[in-house]
């Protein structure tokens, strides 16, 4: 049994979700096919959440074209999709004359790339913009358009909006084979997944670290992915959220960046080392490098207060440092959004916009739907809700007054909402990504067993079937007592 769609998008990372949301406005049937059991579990997961401004990529590259535009679009996207976005501005700190020359270079890059309002500032202005920036910094590239988001929230919001506009989401559906029929066929591609097959006329490859495999299965461009692994550290919340502070970049990465997050934590991101594909382990040397690098930018940072350290792979196409966005030259009808490494989050809305343009130029019929709704209402975030609204919520349902996660003040009703939304959470981590239960300083020590109970109740399963994340990540076995 196979369902047929106009378009299948492989990969529910931030790229695939953004494309789904962009195309949902047209009269097309769309299916997002995801290997994992939830949204943004691959490269999008291992990310510091920065919306880089776009002065970094070499002019003329695809990255250069989509980064600054993506950063610009975030304002509208955040408004329409109801996710948190803070445009704080950022500084690249320089400590000597050599650094200053680099900053000048970045600034002229930025001008070519269309990044607004870049300027080089001196120590007084640095201190004024971010009092905690190192006093040793002699100069900085001040970039007012930089910001940050919660990458999970962006991907989830985009896909929720797409689904609300009729897009189908298939989870736990890893594509194992792709059959390609003649180019005129309405169902040119058949994707084989363990659950069922998906047929489609156009195929969009947004498979992140799996993009080379998808391209290969479809008989399209052959390329190799390099797993450029990054370790990231999250620190406890600060009384005042830090502005993103960058060091002068190296040829392969932006270096160790310190930034605030939309939730008020501080993030140190990220190391860059080529490792075995799939390696999401953290390494002591990497974590130490992050803490050392962070201290250079923010000397008074309390790096003992680590909430979490994690790691993931950026999907880099071997032989190029650029994105690959366009129709396949080998298999028409297949559209590639591959090699979306850094700055993938910052670029996501513009990648979606560019994909739309590429498809239009390729002759895909894009007819606007009358009933498209660009607005997605964010679920109630109890902790951020004004007191009066809190009272209203509790009055409407006592479960709003039942705090489950005490570190992040998440009530039971918020967790239930995270599970019941479409697409909803199906795991403990999925709940955490949607409403932050378990994201705080105790890292779910107090609330995990309660979240497990709520998931079991809502999903209609036994606690022993509740997963931390994906298949195989069981948390508990059965009961100990009252059994023979």
């Amino acid at each position: 049994m196979a369902e047929t769609f106009d378009i299948a998008i492989v990969g529910a990372g931030i790229t695939g979700c953004a494309i789904a949301r962009q195309l949902a406005r047209y009269d097309l049937s769309i299916c997002v096919v995801e290997a994992a059991n939830d949204i943004a579990l691959g490269a999008s997961k291992a990310n510091g959440g920065l919306v880089h401004a776009g002065y970094d990529p070499a002019p003329g590259t695809v990255k250069a074209q989509v980064n600054a535009r993506g950063c610009e679009l975030y304002g509208t996207w955040a408004q329409e999709l109801g996710f948190l976005f803070r445009r704080t501005g950022s500084m690249v700190l320089g400590f000597n004359d050599e650094d200053r020359a680099h900053l000048e270079q970045l600034r002229s890059n930025g001008l070519v790339n269309g990044v607004p309002e870049l300027s080089i500032v001196g120590p007084d202005r640095i201190h004024e913009l971010e009092p905690r920036a190192s006093a040793d910094a002699t100069c900085a590239l001040w970039c007012p358009s930089t910001g940050f988001v919660d990458p999970f929230e962006v991907a989830i919001a985009a896909l929720e909006n797409a689904v609300a506009n009729g897009v189908t989401f298939m989870r736990s559906a890893p594509v194992e084979a792709i059959e390609v029929a003649g180019s005129g066929d309405d169902a040119r591609f058949t994707l084989a997944t363990p659950a069922s097959n998906v047929r489609c006329r156009y195929l969009i490859n947004a498979a992140g670290n799996g993009a080379a495999d998808i391209s290969h299965m479809a008989g399209a461009e052959e390329f190799q992915m390099v797993w450029r692994q990054g370790n990231i550290v999250v620190l406890e919340k600060e009384p005042r959220t830090l502005m993103p502070l960058y060091p002068v970049p190296t040829p392969v990465s932006k270096g160790v960046i310190v930034t605030g997050t939309v939730h008020g934590n501080t993030v140190i991101t990220a190391t860059a080392a080529v490792r075995e594909p799939g390696d999401t382990q953290t390494y002591a040397a990497d974590v130490n490098a992050l803490l050392t690098g962070a201290h250079k930018l923010v000397p008074d940072l309390d790096t003992r207060r680590v909430v979490r350290a994690f790691a993931g792979g950026r999907p880099v196409i071997q032989g190029t440092n650029d994105f690959f966005i366009g129709q396949s030259a080998v298999v028409p009808g297949l559209f590639q959004a591959a090699g979306i490494q850094s700055p993938g989050v910052a670029s996501a809305p513009a990648i979606a916009e560019r994909m739309e343009l590429v498809m239009r130029e390729a002759g895909v019929a894009l007819r606007e739907r009358a009933d498209w709704n660009p607005i997605r209402h964010a679920p109630d975030d109890f902790d951020r809700t004004p007191l009066a609204r809190k009272e209203e919520l509790i009055e409407s349902d006592p479960a709003w007054g039942q705090i489950v996660c005490r570190c992040e003040t998440v009530p039971e009703a918020e967790i239930v909402a995270a599970i019941r939304r479409r697409p909803g959470a199906v795991s403990v981590e999925g709940v955490k990504r949607r409403c932050r239960a378990g994201m705080g300083r105790c890292q779910s020590g107090f609330c995990q067993s309660r979240v497990v109970a709520i998931l079991a109740r809502e999903l209609g399963c036994d606690p022993s079937e509740v997963l931390l994340e994906d298949t195989g990540s069981w948390l508990v076995e059965g009961p100990l007592k009252g059994v023979r």
């Binding site: 999250v234 919340k237 009384p239 005042r240 999401t280 382990q281 953290t282 002591a284 974590v287 003992r304 207060r305 680590v306 909430v307 979490r308 350290a309 994690f310 902790d383 951020r384 004004p386 007191l387 009066a388 809190k390 009272e391 509790i394 009055e395 006592p398 479960a399 007054g401 039942q402 705090i403 005490r406 003040t409 300083r441 105790c442 890292q443 779910s444 020590g445 107090f446 995990q448 067993s449 497990v452 109970a453 606690p463 022993s464 997963l467 931390l468 994340e469 994906d470 298949t471 195989g472 990540s473 069981w474 948390l475 508990v476 076995e477 059965g478 009961p479 100990l480 007592k481 009252g482």
Partner: protein, 452 residues
């Protein structure tokens, strides 16, 4: 110090919220909160307890093992029995109970009109509520240190639990957290859980301890490990977590005297569960939001001899103040805090100590191998109970009290262990002597001495 203002309490719309008035509002219904409330009640105060769970008792409800009550009740009780005795006492009074209620803020962060009254804002499934009291007792307990805080590298699969979470699964939820466990940390909870797991059919591959000595009480090493033949590996720690979805193994390594892992000593221990018992941290986010200054050593409030914090009328006791190893000590300390809070509330905010002397203002600092000293401030010339903990075990050492570099007191030579929270009575005359010397600080130093 920076004030951390929770987003939850930053709006001024409070007039709609119902208010109830008390003399003393106790935050936390565990052993500390109950003892403080009972003492305040006994002193004649109108008392309220706010507890986030639906029952009183706190963490003792899941500490089902014996070892409680030996000093307070002169008999060995289990944690739930120890708690139940206090629960029964509380129920026998008119102490107001706000269960299933989460405190979301103390005072508004803005200076109140009546500065002598504190406001505690709480929420529950029935709505929001404000309690006022001239005195507030902080008794929120502590949380467990996590894997991230001790920076164990490797993957992040299911099957890593803090010991307390595993204890909750086993003792409260009736769920088995795994079949084959490794325990990191020989603190009391880790040791207790080694026995609990074994009795419940979860095999314990070993307990690993970074330090060259066990961190828990001797009785627990004996009754929880030795009784069951569970090996304790000292100077060894977990250096990598292995397994993508569920824990499959951990890598353990020996450490040198600087606690750095020694290359070449790595060993893979197959298991499906890793329990972490690597320390407790007082839960002071509410206190900080209320403007209470913390001691970076204890991560609890800086208090004076009556357990009053730097914010007048706010007192602290139990594990939110400093981590205790025995509930009995929590009870004793909390009774003092409760009595002092009642005296403060009923005395109209005046001095709580009969012999308080406005000219007495001393800070107390640790030195030598003492990791901390409590109270951090002394404002009265009276017999004062000092608490401290040593950072490493020594067979022969003595407590010395120094003022202006002069030794004003020396204790007897004896052994000290980091697992034991020590207490030491500081005579009034020693405090007076420090003042006579013109000191503004007294130093509690624990110094190892050579054996004769």
């Amino acid at each position: 110090m920076a004030k951390f203002k929770s987003s939850a309490i930053d709006c001024g719309v409070v007039e709609a919220v119902q208010t109830q008035a008390f003399d003393v509002v106790v935050i936390g219904g565990g052993p500390a909160g109950m003892a403080a409330a009972l003492a305040a009640h006994k002193a004649g105060a109108r008392v309220a307890i706010v507890e986030r769970e639906q029952h009183l008792g706190g963490i003792l409800r899941q500490c089902i093992h014996p070892g409680f009550g030996l000093s307070h009740f002169k008999q060995e009780l289990t944690g739930p029995e120890y708690a139940q005795r206090f629960i029964d006492q509380v129920h026998a009074t008119d102490i107001a109970l706000f269960l299933n209620s989460m405190v979301i803020g103390i005072d508004s962060g803005e200076p109140a009109e009546d500065t002598a009254v504190h406001t505690v804002t709480l929420m529950s499934p029935t709505g929001m509520l404000q309690l006022t009291g001239r005195a507030v007792v902080l008794a929120m307990g502590c949380r467990e240190r996590t894997r991230s805080e001790i920076k164990i590298p490797g993957s992040r699969p299911a099957g890593m639990f803090t010991a307390g979470l595993a204890q909750r699964y086993i003792n409260i939820e009736n769920l088995k957290p795994g079949s084959r466990a490794v325990i990191l940390g020989s603190g009391d909870i880790g040791l207790i859980m080694a026995r609990r797991c074994t009795l419940e059919g979860i095999s314990v591959e070993g307990v690993y301890e970074l330090m060259p000595y066990a961190n828990g009480l001797r009785r627990n090493v004996k009754n929880c490990l030795d009784d069951f033949g569970i090996p304790l590996h000292l100077s060894t720690t977990v250096t990598r977590v292995i397994g993508h979805d569920r824990v499959e193994a951990v890598e353990v390594s020996q450490v040198d005297e600087r606690l750095a892992s020694i290359a070449g000593t790595e060993r893979i221990v197959p298991c499906d569960t890793l329990l972490l018992s690597v320390g407790l941290i007082p839960e002071n986010e509410l206190s900080v939001a209320a403007g209470v200054e913390l001691d970076p050593r204890t991560r609890g409030a800086v208090v004076d001899q009556s357990l009053q914090t730097g914010v007048p009328g706010i007192f602290a006791c139990g594990n939110v103040l400093h981590v205790h190893d025995l509930a009995d000590n929590v009870t004793t300390e909390s009774e003092r805090a409760g009595a002092a809070a009642a005296a403060y509330a009923l005395g109209g905010g005046a001095e709580t100590n009969a012999v308080a002397d406005t000219s007495c203002e001393l800070t107390v600092s640790p030195a030598g191998i003492a990791g901390y000293a409590l109270p951090g401030r002394i404002t009265a010339v009276a017999l004062t109970k000092l608490n401290f903990r040593v950072r490493r075990p020594v067979d022969t050492a003595r407590v010395r009290i120094l003022a202006n570099g002069e030794e004003v007191f020396a204790g007897k030579v004896r052994a000290f262990k980091p697992s034991v929270m020590e207490s030491f009575p500081l005579p009034a005359k020693v405090i007076q002597r420090a003042l006579d010397l013109g000191a503004s600080e007294i130093v509690l130093s624990v110094d190892p001495v050579e054996e004769a």
